[in-house]
């Protein structure tokens, strides 16, 4: 299956790209597996997006422009768009 990762703010700066298209053997796949794959590709961002087994406080994730999620057990399916952005939307 394929999922599209869209990076915004600091995650975009750290990865140096605005998006990635990733493929996975299994569908659905956990968000944890997706982030592990991203961390392998983008080391600087990978070091920051996870704190132990949890999403770091500074990172938030949105699925398909709809719901925000924090649980790394969240299942993603083929065609999903995963938006990764910095916490603190205000300004």
């Amino acid at each position: 299956m394929f999922v599209t990762i869209e990076y915004f703010g600091v995650p975009r700066q750290k990865t140096g790209v605005s998006s990635d298209s990733l493929s996975f053997a299994n569908s659905p796949t956990s968000l944890s597996d997706v982030l592990t794959e991203i961390a392998g590709r983008h080391t600087a961002f990978g070091e920051q997006c996870l704190t132990g087994d949890e999403l770091s406080r500074e990172t938030i994730i949105n699925l398909n422009g709809d719901q925000f999620v924090r649980s790394l057990d969240t299942q993603v399916v083929n065609g999903d768009h995963i938006l990764i952005l910095s916490t603190d939307a205000g300004g």
Binding site: G9, Q13, F68, L85, D88
Partner: protein, 592 residues
């Protein structure tokens, strides 16, 4: 009284005569209203400022400092300007940063209250609790920046200045008070000062307050500074708030074309990366700040060699909201707003509203079209001169709609008269509540309810009574932040917010506040603000949104729809959570 962190006094200056008097503030009052917005609100209530037209000689305007000002705590060099707003008729508390706060506190005052009206333009000088009134005829007509430059030649380097631009002089309803490139921007406090013929307030002095636990404070300050270099503030430091634009656009919550849409075709051109690719970019910090969020970009055309400070809100209001897709025009417009001394959000909101009125045939100004950068700049010029359409534009969108008629109030982008910041209420419904109930009108700084929308605790497009209760907490946090005063960009470093802010205040004052005490303090501050508004004539019908944003879906997001009944349910839940009646009245008004 003088206790740790405080001078225990405020000075009242009568601009009519130039005379002043000092009054004491008791520790018990500081425990309820510790500084900043809270202290300013308390003093306005004490002086019955709600009785007076904000542009009358009898009105009062307060510069309020705080116990943290002058301490080694990062981002603490801030001051509040509090008055009744000429734009909303309700309480207005605007904050700004930097050396004016430090020098104002060293003048020996916890607050400075200005009333009266000078016969001719004047400068008010507060020096070690002594006050003087000096002529300001040579400054009248100058921009805020040029006024400060002139004052630097007139006074020593120990003096610092809060000034108004031409807009404040002309009492434009959304004029700002400026200091060192920062602005107490919202609600028209510049017009209040201008109505008093006060061009500048100058502060200096050598009076310092003591701290109860200096060693502990210094140690905590070091910890906070270290955290402020970390990931919690990285977005502000590296990219600035402009980074929000692409996120909001992607989620269809970037108000565009006067809130007709939630996304904007040319958003990528306004990203910090794109702006920086074709322009010189510099960064700066406020005094006593370790974050350094200020990002300034050069303007490529014209004769100006000054860089312009860019934030999400001025890009949003002067770009997408007016559907202007040329970043150069937006940067120029932002710079022109700073020169005049007008709030960029209200400027953009009012012009976008006028553009839609033209589109609908309610205004015969065919040059003023959505998407036209030259028209945007012309409209700002007219606001400055007051010529032609400028006479209407300088009123703000609510008052303008009353003149235009045709039910245009239904799409005037404002709450209580204050133009709405860049958060689409239909797509961010907890924030919609925050806007509706805000004491100074639609406001993203007094309510952080968008944090709920941007989390997994709520469905941002389906507001509920439960999320309304969460919104109360974000407003309480802001009330403390705005009263201590600390920069909101620091909030991400706190793990246990109320407990940690209690600790900061205790280190300064020697008090023994705990988490619960801070939460109660926050509730009391919000109560006082509501008390002021009720005395001004507030009624529950004010707590709503423009009709456009109710009962119909956002054009580019059919799921983003907010019903009137849903909003009313959320408002009632909010009011009850605050301990008010379901309609929003206080059980008793005892904030004085």
């Amino acid at each position: 009284m003088s206790s740790f962190g405080y001078h225990g006094v405020y000075t009242t200056i009568d601009a009519t005569t130039g005379t002043s008097s000092q009054s004491s503030i008791t520790e018990s009052m500081f425990r309820r209203f510790p500084g900043g917005s809270a202290l300013g609100t308390h003093l306005l209530l004490k002086h019955d400022a709600w009785r007076h037209d904000p542009l009358s000689a009898e009105s009062s305007l307060v510069f309020a400092f705080s116990p943290l000002v002058g301490s080694p705590l990062t981002t603490s060099a801030k001051f509040a300007v509090v008055s009744r707003s000429p734009l909303t008729g309700r309480l207005n508390d605007s904050l700004a940063s930097s050396s004016f706060a430090l020098a104002g506190k060293r003048s020996g005052n916890d607050a400075i209250l200005i009333t009266g009206k000078a016969e001719t333009p004047c400068i008010l000088v507060i020096d070690d609790q002594q006050t003087h009134k000096l002529p300001a005829d040579h400054l009248w007509g100058l921009s805020a920046e040029d006024t400060e430059a002139s004052l630097r030649e007139q006074f020593s380097g120990e003096h610092h200045f809060a000034v108004i631009g031409p807009a404040g002089e002309q009492q434009i309803a959304y004029a700002t008070i400026s200091h060192s490139g920062r602005h107490a921007g919202r609600g028209g406090s510049g017009a209040v000062l201008g109505a008093k013929n006060v061009k500048a307030v100058v502060v200096t002095g050598n009076q310092r307050t003591q701290w109860a636990d200096t060693d502990g404070l210094v140690e905590r300050a070091k910890q906070l500074s270290k955290l402020s270099f970390g990931p919690a503030t990285e977005k502000y430091r590296e990219l600035g708030t402009a980074a929000n634009l692409l996120v909001f656009n992607r989620l269809n919550c970037l108000p565009t074309r006067n809130f007709q849409r939630g996304s904007f075709a040319n958003s990528e051109q306004f990203s910090p990366e794109a702006l920086g690719a074709t322009r010189n970019k510099t960064r700066s910090s406020c005094a006593a700040c370790t974050i350094g969020c200020t990002h300034l970009y050069s303007i490529n055309s014209g004769t100006s060699n000054r860089n312009v400070r860019i934030e999400y809100e001025n890009i949003y209001a002067l770009g997408p909201l007016c559907d202007v897709q040329d970043p150069e025009a937006v940067l120029q417009a932002s710079q022109r707003c700073d020169e005049l001394g007008i709030d960029t959000i209200s400027t953009g909101g009012t012009i976008a509203f006028a553009m839609e009125c033209v589109e609908r045939g309610f205004l015969d100004e065919p040059w003023l079209r959505f998407g036209d950068g030259a028209a945007l700049l012309k409209a700002i010029q007219l606001i400055g001169t007051g010529a032609g359409l400028g006479k209407l534009l300088r009123l703000g969108s609510r008052a303008m709609a009353k003149v235009i008629g045709h039910h245009s109030i239904d799409f005037a982008p404002q709450v209580k008269g204050l133009e709405i910041p860049g958060y689409e209420p239909r797509a961010l419904q907890t924030m919609a509540l925050g806007f509706a109930v805000g004491t100074r009108g639609a406001d993203h700084n007094r309510s952080g309810a968008y944090e709920i929308d941007f989390s997994d605790t709520a469905d941002r497009r389906n507001g509920t009574a439960a999320t309304a209760r969460l919104a109360v907490d974000t407003e309480d946090r802001a009330a403390i932040m705005d009263s201590l005063i600390l920069c909101k960009f620091l909030r991400g470093v706190f793990l246990d917010y109320f407990a940690e802010t209690a600790e900061l205040l205790n280190l300064i004052t020697g008090w023994d506040l705990d988490k619960s005490a801070m939460q109660n303090m926050a509730r009391g501050i919000i109560d006082a603000k509501k008390d002021f508004n009720i005395r001004c004539g507030w009624t529950p019908v004010e707590d709503t949104l423009p009709q456009r944003m109710l009962n119909s879906a956002l054009q580019d997001d059919p799921e983003a729809r907010l019903d009137t009944q849903t909003l009313q349910t959320m408002i009632a839940a909010y009011n009850l959570e605050r301990g008010w009646t379901a309609e929003g009245y206080l059980d008793e008004m005892s904030s004085k």
